[in-house]
Protein backbone atom coordinates (compact mmCIF):
# COMPACT_ATOMS: atom_id res chain seq x y z
CA UNK A 1 0.00 0.00 0.00
CA UNK A 2 1.51 3.29 -1.00
CA UNK A 3 0.77 6.81 -2.15
CA UNK A 4 2.52 7.97 -5.30
CA UNK A 5 2.31 10.10 -8.36
CA UNK A 6 2.06 7.73 -11.25
CA UNK A 7 2.73 8.46 -14.90
CA UNK A 8 -0.30 8.13 -17.14
CA UNK A 9 0.42 5.90 -20.12
CA UNK A 10 -3.09 5.88 -21.54
CA UNK A 11 -6.35 7.72 -21.04
CA UNK A 12 -8.82 6.94 -23.77
CA UNK A 13 -12.56 6.74 -24.26
CA UNK A 14 -13.85 3.18 -24.54
CA UNK A 15 -17.52 3.97 -24.99
CA UNK A 16 -19.18 7.36 -24.63
CA UNK A 17 -18.73 8.66 -21.08
CA UNK A 18 -16.41 5.81 -20.08
CA UNK A 19 -12.64 5.90 -20.17
CA UNK A 20 -9.72 3.62 -19.57
CA UNK A 21 -6.64 5.00 -17.85
CA UNK A 22 -3.33 3.17 -17.68
CA UNK A 23 -0.75 4.04 -15.05
CA UNK A 24 2.91 3.08 -14.94
CA UNK A 25 3.09 1.33 -11.58
CA UNK A 26 5.25 -1.74 -11.22
CA UNK A 27 4.85 -2.25 -7.48
CA UNK A 28 1.15 -1.60 -7.64
CA UNK A 29 0.69 -4.03 -10.52
CA UNK A 30 2.41 -6.71 -8.47
CA UNK A 31 0.43 -6.01 -5.33
CA UNK A 32 -3.09 -5.47 -6.63
CA UNK A 33 -5.74 -8.17 -6.37
CA UNK A 34 -9.11 -8.18 -8.16
CA UNK A 35 -11.77 -6.26 -6.26
CA UNK A 36 -9.26 -3.91 -4.66
CA UNK A 37 -9.40 -0.24 -5.47
CA UNK A 38 -7.23 2.82 -5.87
CA UNK A 39 -7.90 6.12 -4.18
CA UNK A 40 -7.23 8.77 -6.78
CA UNK A 41 -6.67 12.51 -6.60
CA UNK A 42 -8.43 14.13 -9.50
CA UNK A 43 -6.98 17.62 -9.01
CA UNK A 44 -3.91 19.09 -7.41
CA UNK A 45 -5.95 21.99 -6.07
CA UNK A 46 -8.31 21.92 -3.10
CA UNK A 47 -11.40 21.49 -5.26
CA UNK A 48 -12.43 18.73 -5.50
CA UNK A 49 -10.76 17.96 -2.22
CA UNK A 50 -11.24 14.26 -1.64
CA UNK A 51 -9.81 11.35 -3.54
CA UNK A 52 -12.08 9.18 -5.66
CA UNK A 53 -12.21 5.40 -5.24
CA UNK A 54 -11.75 3.55 -8.54
CA UNK A 55 -11.33 -0.21 -8.87
CA UNK A 56 -8.31 -1.82 -10.37
CA UNK A 57 -9.65 -3.00 -13.72
CA UNK A 58 -6.50 -4.76 -14.75
CA UNK A 59 -2.95 -5.16 -13.49
CA UNK A 60 -0.48 -6.01 -16.21
CA UNK A 61 2.35 -7.36 -14.12
CA UNK A 62 4.74 -7.84 -16.99
CA UNK A 63 4.55 -4.32 -18.27
CA UNK A 64 4.01 -2.85 -14.81
CA UNK A 65 0.81 -1.12 -15.81
CA UNK A 66 -2.36 -0.74 -13.81
CA UNK A 67 -5.63 0.14 -15.51
CA UNK A 68 -8.74 1.89 -14.28
CA UNK A 69 -12.01 1.85 -16.17
CA UNK A 70 -14.15 4.78 -15.12
CA UNK A 71 -17.42 6.42 -15.88
CA UNK A 72 -17.55 10.20 -15.97
CA UNK A 73 -19.96 10.75 -13.10
CA UNK A 74 -19.19 14.25 -11.83
CA UNK A 75 -16.55 16.81 -11.05
CA UNK A 76 -13.73 14.44 -10.12
CA UNK A 77 -14.03 11.97 -12.95
CA UNK A 78 -14.46 14.86 -15.40
CA UNK A 79 -11.09 16.24 -14.33
CA UNK A 80 -9.62 12.75 -14.59
CA UNK A 81 -10.87 12.53 -18.15
CA UNK A 82 -8.80 15.59 -19.07
CA UNK A 83 -5.52 14.15 -17.87
CA UNK A 84 -3.13 13.58 -20.73
CA UNK A 85 -0.68 10.81 -21.46
CA UNK A 86 2.55 11.73 -19.73
CA UNK A 87 0.84 13.60 -16.90
CA UNK A 88 0.99 12.30 -13.36
CA UNK A 89 -1.86 11.19 -11.14
CA UNK A 90 -1.61 10.81 -7.36
CA UNK A 91 -2.80 7.38 -6.33
CA UNK A 92 -3.15 5.55 -3.03
CA UNK A 93 -3.48 1.80 -3.12
CA UNK A 94 -4.15 -0.98 -3.58
CA UNK A 95 -6.81 -0.67 -0.93
CA UNK A 96 -9.45 -2.91 0.58
CA UNK A 97 -10.24 -6.60 0.39
CA UNK A 98 -10.90 -8.11 -3.00
CA UNK A 99 -12.69 -11.18 -4.31
CA UNK A 100 -11.59 -14.60 -3.19
CA UNK A 101 -10.53 -16.50 -6.26
CA UNK A 102 -12.20 -19.76 -7.28
CA UNK A 103 -10.34 -23.03 -7.61
CA UNK A 104 -9.99 -24.49 -11.05
CA UNK A 105 -13.13 -26.38 -11.88
CA UNK A 106 -15.48 -24.44 -9.57
CA UNK A 107 -18.66 -23.38 -11.31
CA UNK A 108 -18.64 -19.61 -11.57
CA UNK A 109 -21.20 -16.93 -12.37
CA UNK A 110 -20.05 -13.34 -12.81
CA UNK A 111 -22.64 -10.56 -12.89
CA UNK A 112 -21.76 -7.01 -13.81
CA UNK A 113 -24.09 -4.04 -14.11
CA UNK A 114 -22.84 -1.03 -16.03
CA UNK A 115 -19.51 0.22 -14.81
CA UNK A 116 -19.63 -2.68 -12.31
CA UNK A 117 -17.65 -4.58 -14.92
CA UNK A 118 -14.52 -2.68 -13.82
CA UNK A 119 -13.31 -4.89 -10.94
CA UNK A 120 -14.84 -8.00 -12.54
CA UNK A 121 -12.65 -7.60 -15.58
CA UNK A 122 -9.58 -8.09 -13.42
CA UNK A 123 -11.28 -11.01 -11.71
CA UNK A 124 -12.02 -12.62 -15.06
CA UNK A 125 -8.39 -12.22 -16.11
CA UNK A 126 -7.35 -14.03 -12.95
CA UNK A 127 -9.94 -16.75 -13.49
CA UNK A 128 -8.59 -17.25 -17.00
CA UNK A 129 -5.13 -17.55 -15.50
CA UNK A 130 -6.33 -20.25 -13.10
CA UNK A 131 -8.62 -22.13 -15.48
CA UNK A 132 -6.60 -22.00 -18.67
CA UNK A 133 -8.49 -22.50 -21.93
CA UNK A 134 -11.31 -24.52 -20.37
CA UNK A 135 -13.68 -21.89 -19.01
CA UNK A 136 -16.90 -23.72 -19.79
CA UNK A 137 -18.00 -23.60 -16.17
CA UNK A 138 -17.79 -19.81 -16.11
CA UNK A 139 -20.83 -17.77 -17.13
CA UNK A 140 -20.57 -14.04 -17.49
CA UNK A 141 -23.62 -11.78 -17.38
CA UNK A 142 -23.23 -8.15 -18.31
CA UNK A 143 -25.92 -5.54 -18.46
CA UNK A 144 -26.48 -1.87 -19.09
CA UNK A 145 -29.17 0.50 -20.30
CA UNK A 146 -28.30 -0.23 -23.93
CA UNK A 147 -26.06 -2.65 -25.77
CA UNK A 148 -23.58 0.05 -26.75
CA UNK A 149 -23.41 1.14 -23.12
CA UNK A 150 -21.76 -2.06 -21.88
CA UNK A 151 -18.10 -1.14 -21.40
CA UNK A 152 -15.27 -3.44 -22.60
CA UNK A 153 -17.75 -6.08 -23.77
CA UNK A 154 -15.62 -7.10 -26.74
CA UNK A 155 -12.56 -7.42 -24.59
CA UNK A 156 -14.37 -9.74 -22.18
CA UNK A 157 -15.57 -11.81 -25.11
CA UNK A 158 -12.03 -11.87 -26.47
CA UNK A 159 -10.87 -13.52 -23.24
CA UNK A 160 -12.87 -16.53 -24.36
CA UNK A 161 -15.74 -16.43 -21.89
CA UNK A 162 -19.29 -17.09 -22.91
CA UNK A 163 -20.90 -13.73 -22.26
CA UNK A 164 -24.65 -13.15 -21.89
CA UNK A 165 -25.90 -9.61 -22.15
CA UNK A 166 -28.96 -7.88 -20.79
CA UNK A 167 -30.16 -4.41 -21.72
CA UNK A 168 -32.93 -2.29 -20.31
CA UNK A 169 -34.04 -1.23 -23.78
CA UNK A 170 -33.62 -4.64 -25.37
CA UNK A 171 -31.07 -3.29 -27.82
CA UNK A 172 -28.87 -6.37 -27.38
CA UNK A 173 -29.42 -9.75 -25.77
CA UNK A 174 -31.99 -10.18 -23.03
CA UNK A 175 -34.41 -7.34 -22.34
CA UNK A 176 -34.24 -6.78 -18.62
CA UNK A 177 -31.58 -6.72 -15.96
CA UNK A 178 -28.59 -9.01 -15.43
CA UNK A 179 -30.10 -10.77 -12.44
CA UNK A 180 -33.22 -11.73 -14.41
CA UNK A 181 -30.95 -12.83 -17.23
CA UNK A 182 -28.80 -15.01 -14.97
CA UNK A 183 -31.95 -16.45 -13.39
CA UNK A 184 -33.19 -17.42 -16.83
CA UNK A 185 -29.92 -18.77 -18.20
CA UNK A 186 -29.04 -20.70 -15.05
CA UNK A 187 -32.60 -21.81 -14.42
CA UNK A 188 -32.28 -20.72 -10.82
CA UNK A 189 -29.34 -23.03 -10.17
CA UNK A 190 -26.45 -20.82 -9.18
CA UNK A 191 -22.95 -22.30 -9.24
CA UNK A 192 -20.58 -22.58 -6.23
CA UNK A 193 -19.07 -19.20 -6.90
CA UNK A 194 -21.01 -16.06 -7.66
CA UNK A 195 -19.32 -12.69 -8.12
CA UNK A 196 -21.12 -9.43 -8.71
CA UNK A 197 -20.65 -5.72 -8.94
CA UNK A 198 -23.19 -3.12 -9.94
CA UNK A 199 -25.77 -0.66 -8.70
CA UNK A 200 -27.46 -1.26 -5.34
CA UNK A 201 -30.86 -2.31 -6.77
CA UNK A 202 -29.09 -5.01 -8.78
CA UNK A 203 -27.27 -6.30 -5.70
CA UNK A 204 -30.51 -6.28 -3.75
CA UNK A 205 -32.33 -8.36 -6.30
CA UNK A 206 -29.36 -10.69 -6.52
CA UNK A 207 -29.57 -11.08 -2.75
CA UNK A 208 -33.23 -12.08 -3.08
CA UNK A 209 -32.43 -14.50 -5.87
CA UNK A 210 -29.52 -16.11 -4.06
CA UNK A 211 -31.00 -16.35 -0.59
CA UNK A 212 -28.32 -17.74 1.70
CA UNK A 213 -25.73 -18.63 -0.95
CA UNK A 214 -22.57 -19.30 1.09
CA UNK A 215 -19.96 -17.95 -1.32
CA UNK A 216 -21.57 -15.17 -3.34
CA UNK A 217 -19.42 -12.05 -3.20
CA UNK A 218 -20.35 -8.53 -4.18
CA UNK A 219 -18.48 -5.28 -4.32
CA UNK A 220 -20.07 -2.35 -2.48
CA UNK A 221 -19.88 1.39 -2.99
CA UNK A 222 -20.10 4.12 -0.41
CA UNK A 223 -18.83 7.69 -0.26
CA UNK A 224 -15.31 7.64 1.12
CA UNK A 225 -12.96 10.10 2.69
CA UNK A 226 -9.78 8.34 3.84
CA UNK A 227 -10.02 4.98 2.07
CA UNK A 228 -7.95 3.32 4.79
CA UNK A 229 -10.35 2.77 7.68
CA UNK A 230 -9.48 5.88 9.67
CA UNK A 231 -12.49 8.17 9.22
CA UNK A 232 -15.30 5.64 9.64
CA UNK A 233 -17.41 7.24 6.96
CA UNK A 234 -17.91 4.46 4.42
CA UNK A 235 -20.29 2.21 6.26
CA UNK A 236 -22.61 -0.48 5.05
CA UNK A 237 -24.99 -2.36 7.30
CA UNK A 238 -24.22 -5.93 8.06
CA UNK A 239 -26.43 -8.56 9.67
CA UNK A 240 -26.43 -7.89 13.35
CA UNK A 241 -27.10 -10.13 16.30
CA UNK A 242 -28.74 -7.54 18.52
CA UNK A 243 -31.13 -4.66 18.08
CA UNK A 244 -28.48 -2.03 17.39
CA UNK A 245 -27.43 -1.63 13.78
CA UNK A 246 -24.02 -3.07 12.98
CA UNK A 247 -21.80 -1.52 10.37
CA UNK A 248 -18.82 -2.63 8.34
CA UNK A 249 -16.50 -0.22 6.58
CA UNK A 250 -16.43 -0.55 2.83
CA UNK A 251 -12.86 0.66 2.38
CA UNK A 252 -11.32 -1.73 4.87
CA UNK A 253 -13.69 -4.62 5.50
CA UNK A 254 -14.69 -4.47 1.82
CA UNK A 255 -15.33 -3.31 -0.81
CA UNK A 256 -16.00 -7.00 -1.47
CA UNK A 257 -18.35 -8.66 1.00
CA UNK A 258 -20.14 -11.96 1.22
CA UNK A 259 -23.59 -11.09 0.02
CA UNK A 260 -25.25 -13.00 2.84
CA UNK A 261 -23.42 -10.93 5.47
CA UNK A 262 -24.93 -7.71 4.17
CA UNK A 263 -28.13 -6.02 5.18
CA UNK A 264 -29.13 -4.41 1.90
CA UNK A 265 -32.79 -3.76 2.61
Amino acid sequence: MYSKKLRVVKNVEVIPGHRLMGLEAHELAMAAAPGQFLHVRCSETLDPLLRRPISVCLADRERGTVYMLYRIAGKGTELLARVKKGDFVDVLGPLGRGYSLPQKGDGVAVLGGGIGIAPLYFLLECIKGIYGPDTDGVSVFLGAAAYTAIPVLDQVRAMGFSVHTATDDGSGGFKGNVVQLAEEVLGGRYPDRVYACGPLPMLKSLGQALGDHPAAEVSMEEHMACGVGACLSCICRVRAKGEEPEYAHVCKDGPVFKLRDLCLA
Binding site: L46, L50, A225, C226, V228, G229, C234, K252
Partner: protein, 304 residues
Protein backbone atom coordinates in the same frame (compact mmCIF):
# COMPACT_ATOMS: atom_id res chain seq x y z
CA UNK B 1 16.42 24.18 16.59
CA UNK B 2 13.93 23.57 19.38
CA UNK B 3 10.61 22.14 18.28
CA UNK B 4 9.47 20.74 21.61
CA UNK B 5 6.29 22.19 23.04
CA UNK B 6 4.42 21.67 26.27
CA UNK B 7 0.66 21.47 25.93
CA UNK B 8 -0.63 21.74 29.45
CA UNK B 9 1.79 19.14 30.75
CA UNK B 10 1.97 16.96 27.66
CA UNK B 11 5.47 17.19 26.25
CA UNK B 12 5.34 16.96 22.47
CA UNK B 13 8.68 16.64 20.67
CA UNK B 14 7.30 18.83 17.92
CA UNK B 15 4.08 20.82 17.50
CA UNK B 16 2.34 18.54 14.99
CA UNK B 17 -0.46 16.25 16.18
CA UNK B 18 -3.30 14.43 14.50
CA UNK B 19 -6.87 15.67 14.84
CA UNK B 20 -9.26 13.33 16.58
CA UNK B 21 -11.43 11.22 14.32
CA UNK B 22 -9.33 11.74 11.23
CA UNK B 23 -6.50 9.39 12.08
CA UNK B 24 -8.37 6.44 13.52
CA UNK B 25 -6.38 4.96 16.37
CA UNK B 26 -3.15 5.84 14.59
CA UNK B 27 -2.51 2.41 13.20
CA UNK B 28 -4.47 2.97 10.00
CA UNK B 29 -1.83 5.46 8.87
CA UNK B 30 1.20 3.67 10.31
CA UNK B 31 2.03 2.38 6.82
CA UNK B 32 2.44 5.94 5.55
CA UNK B 33 3.80 7.81 8.52
CA UNK B 34 6.27 6.82 11.22
CA UNK B 35 4.06 7.61 14.19
CA UNK B 36 7.15 8.21 16.33
CA UNK B 37 7.88 11.33 14.32
CA UNK B 38 4.64 13.00 15.38
CA UNK B 39 4.25 15.39 18.27
CA UNK B 40 1.18 13.52 19.48
CA UNK B 41 -1.49 11.14 18.28
CA UNK B 42 -5.02 12.17 19.23
CA UNK B 43 -7.31 9.20 18.78
CA UNK B 44 -10.96 8.92 17.73
CA UNK B 45 -13.62 10.17 20.13
CA UNK B 46 -14.15 7.53 22.79
CA UNK B 47 -17.27 6.94 24.85
CA UNK B 48 -18.03 4.79 27.88
CA UNK B 49 -19.86 2.15 25.92
CA UNK B 50 -19.35 1.12 22.29
CA UNK B 51 -21.35 3.13 19.74
CA UNK B 52 -22.37 2.16 16.22
CA UNK B 53 -22.53 5.77 15.03
CA UNK B 54 -24.97 7.38 12.62
CA UNK B 55 -26.63 5.88 9.56
CA UNK B 56 -25.16 6.40 6.06
CA UNK B 57 -24.29 8.57 4.25
CA UNK B 58 -21.86 9.88 6.78
CA UNK B 59 -19.75 12.06 4.55
CA UNK B 60 -20.30 14.60 1.82
CA UNK B 61 -17.77 16.66 -0.03
CA UNK B 62 -18.23 20.43 -0.17
CA UNK B 63 -16.08 23.15 -1.76
CA UNK B 64 -12.59 22.73 -0.26
CA UNK B 65 -14.24 20.97 2.66
CA UNK B 66 -15.98 17.91 3.98
CA UNK B 67 -19.18 17.47 5.96
CA UNK B 68 -19.17 14.49 8.29
CA UNK B 69 -21.76 12.96 10.53
CA UNK B 70 -19.94 9.93 11.85
CA UNK B 71 -21.71 10.19 15.18
CA UNK B 72 -18.86 9.01 17.39
CA UNK B 73 -18.70 5.42 16.21
CA UNK B 74 -16.17 3.84 18.55
CA UNK B 75 -15.56 0.56 20.34
CA UNK B 76 -15.95 2.05 23.82
CA UNK B 77 -13.29 2.91 26.36
CA UNK B 78 -12.60 -0.66 27.50
CA UNK B 79 -11.74 -1.83 23.99
CA UNK B 80 -9.60 1.27 23.48
CA UNK B 81 -7.65 0.52 26.63
CA UNK B 82 -7.34 -3.17 25.95
CA UNK B 83 -6.94 -3.37 22.19
CA UNK B 84 -5.62 -0.10 20.81
CA UNK B 85 -3.43 1.41 23.50
CA UNK B 86 -1.17 -1.66 23.66
CA UNK B 87 -0.46 -1.40 19.90
CA UNK B 88 0.44 2.26 20.21
CA UNK B 89 3.04 1.46 22.88
CA UNK B 90 5.45 0.45 20.15
CA UNK B 91 5.72 4.07 19.08
CA UNK B 92 7.53 6.86 20.84
CA UNK B 93 4.64 9.29 20.78
CA UNK B 94 2.28 10.70 23.39
CA UNK B 95 -1.25 9.39 22.94
CA UNK B 96 -4.13 11.71 23.75
CA UNK B 97 -7.58 10.21 24.20
CA UNK B 98 -10.51 12.25 22.95
CA UNK B 99 -13.44 11.60 25.28
CA UNK B 100 -17.13 12.28 24.74
CA UNK B 101 -20.32 11.64 26.64
CA UNK B 102 -24.03 12.26 26.89
CA UNK B 103 -23.85 13.49 30.47
CA UNK B 104 -21.35 15.17 32.76
CA UNK B 105 -21.10 11.86 34.62
CA UNK B 106 -20.06 10.10 31.42
CA UNK B 107 -17.15 12.47 31.03
CA UNK B 108 -16.13 12.11 34.67
CA UNK B 109 -16.31 8.35 34.53
CA UNK B 110 -14.18 8.26 31.35
CA UNK B 111 -11.65 10.55 32.96
CA UNK B 112 -11.33 8.43 36.05
CA UNK B 113 -11.19 5.21 34.00
CA UNK B 114 -8.29 6.58 31.97
CA UNK B 115 -6.51 8.12 34.95
CA UNK B 116 -3.29 6.28 35.50
CA UNK B 117 -3.78 4.17 32.36
CA UNK B 118 -0.44 3.20 30.90
CA UNK B 119 0.19 4.90 27.60
CA UNK B 120 -2.25 7.76 28.00
CA UNK B 121 -0.54 11.15 27.92
CA UNK B 122 -3.63 13.27 28.30
CA UNK B 123 -7.31 13.76 27.62
CA UNK B 124 -8.96 15.91 25.02
CA UNK B 125 -12.48 16.61 26.21
CA UNK B 126 -14.81 16.77 23.26
CA UNK B 127 -17.58 19.15 24.26
CA UNK B 128 -18.01 20.18 20.65
CA UNK B 129 -19.18 17.24 18.57
CA UNK B 130 -22.07 18.38 16.38
CA UNK B 131 -23.06 14.86 15.39
CA UNK B 132 -24.67 13.42 18.47
CA UNK B 133 -28.13 14.06 19.84
CA UNK B 134 -27.19 14.39 23.48
CA UNK B 135 -24.12 15.97 25.00
CA UNK B 136 -21.38 16.90 22.57
CA UNK B 137 -21.73 20.39 21.20
CA UNK B 138 -24.51 21.25 23.62
CA UNK B 139 -21.98 21.33 26.48
CA UNK B 140 -19.59 23.41 24.46
CA UNK B 141 -22.19 25.99 23.43
CA UNK B 142 -22.22 27.80 26.71
CA UNK B 143 -19.35 28.86 28.99
CA UNK B 144 -21.06 27.55 32.11
CA UNK B 145 -21.93 24.08 30.91
CA UNK B 146 -18.51 23.79 29.27
CA UNK B 147 -16.89 24.73 32.56
CA UNK B 148 -19.00 22.23 34.43
CA UNK B 149 -17.82 19.32 32.29
CA UNK B 150 -14.19 20.39 32.60
CA UNK B 151 -14.47 20.83 36.36
CA UNK B 152 -15.76 17.28 36.80
CA UNK B 153 -13.14 15.86 34.45
CA UNK B 154 -10.45 17.81 36.24
CA UNK B 155 -11.59 16.37 39.55
CA UNK B 156 -11.62 12.83 38.21
CA UNK B 157 -8.10 12.62 36.77
CA UNK B 158 -4.51 13.67 37.23
CA UNK B 159 -3.93 13.58 33.48
CA UNK B 160 -3.49 16.81 31.52
CA UNK B 161 -6.91 18.03 30.40
CA UNK B 162 -7.43 19.73 27.05
CA UNK B 163 -10.87 21.20 26.38
CA UNK B 164 -11.88 20.92 22.73
CA UNK B 165 -13.99 23.88 21.75
CA UNK B 166 -16.72 24.42 19.23
CA UNK B 167 -16.70 27.33 16.77
CA UNK B 168 -20.50 27.31 16.68
CA UNK B 169 -20.81 29.92 19.40
CA UNK B 170 -21.18 33.67 19.62
CA UNK B 171 -18.00 34.00 21.63
CA UNK B 172 -15.42 31.24 21.63
CA UNK B 173 -13.23 33.41 23.84
CA UNK B 174 -15.91 33.35 26.56
CA UNK B 175 -16.09 29.55 26.43
CA UNK B 176 -12.29 29.38 26.58
CA UNK B 177 -12.29 31.60 29.66
CA UNK B 178 -14.90 29.34 31.23
CA UNK B 179 -12.93 26.14 30.73
CA UNK B 180 -9.65 27.79 31.74
CA UNK B 181 -11.18 28.84 35.04
CA UNK B 182 -12.58 25.34 35.48
CA UNK B 183 -9.09 23.92 35.36
CA UNK B 184 -8.37 23.01 31.76
CA UNK B 185 -4.64 22.78 31.14
CA UNK B 186 -5.02 23.64 27.49
CA UNK B 187 -7.64 24.16 24.81
CA UNK B 188 -7.86 22.69 21.36
CA UNK B 189 -9.84 24.39 18.63
CA UNK B 190 -11.71 24.21 16.44
CA UNK B 191 -14.02 21.29 16.16
CA UNK B 192 -16.20 21.26 13.05
CA UNK B 193 -18.62 23.98 11.97
CA UNK B 194 -22.25 22.95 11.94
CA UNK B 195 -23.29 22.61 8.32
CA UNK B 196 -25.44 20.73 5.91
CA UNK B 197 -25.89 19.91 2.27
CA UNK B 198 -28.94 18.89 0.29
CA UNK B 199 -29.00 16.40 -2.54
CA UNK B 200 -31.12 18.22 -5.08
CA UNK B 201 -31.93 15.01 -6.97
CA UNK B 202 -33.58 13.28 -4.03
CA UNK B 203 -34.48 16.62 -2.34
CA UNK B 204 -33.21 15.16 0.92
CA UNK B 205 -30.33 16.09 3.23
CA UNK B 206 -27.12 14.61 1.84
CA UNK B 207 -26.15 13.18 5.23
CA UNK B 208 -28.02 10.44 7.04
CA UNK B 209 -28.02 12.53 10.20
CA UNK B 210 -29.31 15.70 8.37
CA UNK B 211 -26.67 18.10 9.73
CA UNK B 212 -22.97 17.47 10.00
CA UNK B 213 -19.66 19.02 10.85
CA UNK B 214 -17.70 20.99 8.27
CA UNK B 215 -13.93 20.62 8.20
CA UNK B 216 -11.06 21.02 5.79
CA UNK B 217 -9.35 24.01 4.13
CA UNK B 218 -12.70 25.79 3.73
CA UNK B 219 -12.90 26.43 7.49
CA UNK B 220 -9.31 27.53 8.02
CA UNK B 221 -10.05 31.27 8.19
CA UNK B 222 -12.64 30.64 10.91
CA UNK B 223 -10.19 28.47 12.83
CA UNK B 224 -7.31 30.95 12.63
CA UNK B 225 -9.66 33.67 13.86
CA UNK B 226 -10.77 31.46 16.78
CA UNK B 227 -7.17 30.81 17.79
CA UNK B 228 -6.42 34.52 17.52
CA UNK B 229 -9.34 35.44 19.79
CA UNK B 230 -8.71 32.71 22.35
CA UNK B 231 -5.00 33.58 22.53
CA UNK B 232 -5.96 37.08 23.59
CA UNK B 233 -8.47 35.79 26.14
CA UNK B 234 -6.67 33.05 28.05
CA UNK B 235 -3.14 32.18 29.06
CA UNK B 236 -3.24 28.38 28.66
CA UNK B 237 -1.68 26.74 25.60
CA UNK B 238 -3.70 26.29 22.44
CA UNK B 239 -3.69 23.37 20.05
CA UNK B 240 -4.89 24.83 16.75
CA UNK B 241 -6.66 22.94 13.99
CA UNK B 242 -9.13 23.41 11.17
CA UNK B 243 -8.12 23.10 7.55
CA UNK B 244 -4.39 22.65 8.00
CA UNK B 245 -2.99 21.03 4.87
CA UNK B 246 0.48 22.52 4.61
CA UNK B 247 3.26 24.01 6.71
CA UNK B 248 2.24 27.53 5.79
CA UNK B 249 -1.29 26.81 7.01
CA UNK B 250 0.15 25.50 10.27
CA UNK B 251 2.38 28.56 10.65
CA UNK B 252 -0.68 30.79 10.39
CA UNK B 253 -2.12 29.03 13.44
CA UNK B 254 1.15 29.28 15.34
CA UNK B 255 1.52 32.98 14.58
CA UNK B 256 -2.11 33.45 15.65
CA UNK B 257 -1.26 31.92 19.01
CA UNK B 258 -1.31 28.13 18.80
CA UNK B 259 1.53 26.31 20.55
CA UNK B 260 0.74 23.11 18.69
CA UNK B 261 -1.33 22.22 15.65
CA UNK B 262 -3.33 19.21 14.54
CA UNK B 263 -3.86 17.94 11.02
CA UNK B 264 -7.30 16.50 10.31
CA UNK B 265 -9.12 16.30 7.00
CA UNK B 266 -5.86 16.78 5.10
CA UNK B 267 -4.83 13.24 6.09
CA UNK B 268 -7.57 11.93 3.82
CA UNK B 269 -6.17 13.83 0.87
CA UNK B 270 -2.51 13.21 1.65
CA UNK B 271 -1.74 10.44 4.15
CA UNK B 272 1.68 11.99 4.73
CA UNK B 273 0.26 15.44 5.48
CA UNK B 274 1.34 15.42 9.15
CA UNK B 275 4.97 14.68 8.36
CA UNK B 276 5.03 17.12 5.47
CA UNK B 277 3.63 19.87 7.69
CA UNK B 278 6.35 19.10 10.23
CA UNK B 279 9.11 19.14 7.63
CA UNK B 280 7.83 22.41 6.23
CA UNK B 281 7.83 24.01 9.67
CA UNK B 282 11.41 22.86 10.17
CA UNK B 283 12.44 24.44 6.86
CA UNK B 284 10.71 27.69 7.74
CA UNK B 285 12.55 27.89 11.06
CA UNK B 286 15.84 27.11 9.38
CA UNK B 287 15.37 29.63 6.59
CA UNK B 288 14.29 32.32 9.00
CA UNK B 289 16.96 31.56 11.54
CA UNK B 290 14.50 30.85 14.33
CA UNK B 291 15.98 28.72 17.10
CA UNK B 292 12.86 27.89 19.03
CA UNK B 293 9.36 27.44 17.67
CA UNK B 294 7.99 29.17 20.76
CA UNK B 295 9.35 32.46 19.38
CA UNK B 296 6.70 32.26 16.67
CA UNK B 297 3.75 31.48 18.92
CA UNK B 298 1.41 34.47 18.75
CA UNK B 299 3.93 36.47 16.69
CA UNK B 300 1.22 38.10 14.61
CA UNK B 301 -0.23 39.83 17.67
CA UNK B 302 2.82 42.05 18.06
CA UNK B 303 1.77 45.67 18.04
CA UNK B 304 -1.93 44.94 17.63
Amino acid sequence: MKLEVNIGGIIMKNPVATASGTFGFGLEYAGFVDLSRLGAVVVKGTTRLPRPGNPAPRICETPAGVLNAIGLENPGVEAVVEKYLPCLKDYDVPVIINIAGDTVEDYASLASRLDGCQGVAGLEVNISCPNVKKGGMLFGSDPDSAAEVIREVRAATRLPVIAKLSPNVTSIAAVAEGVARAGADAVSLINTLLGMSIDIKSRRPALGNVMGGLSGPAVRPVAVRAVWQVYRAVGIPIMGMGGIASASDALQFIMAGASAVAVGTANFVNPRATVEVLEGIESYLLENNIRDISQLVGAAHQGI
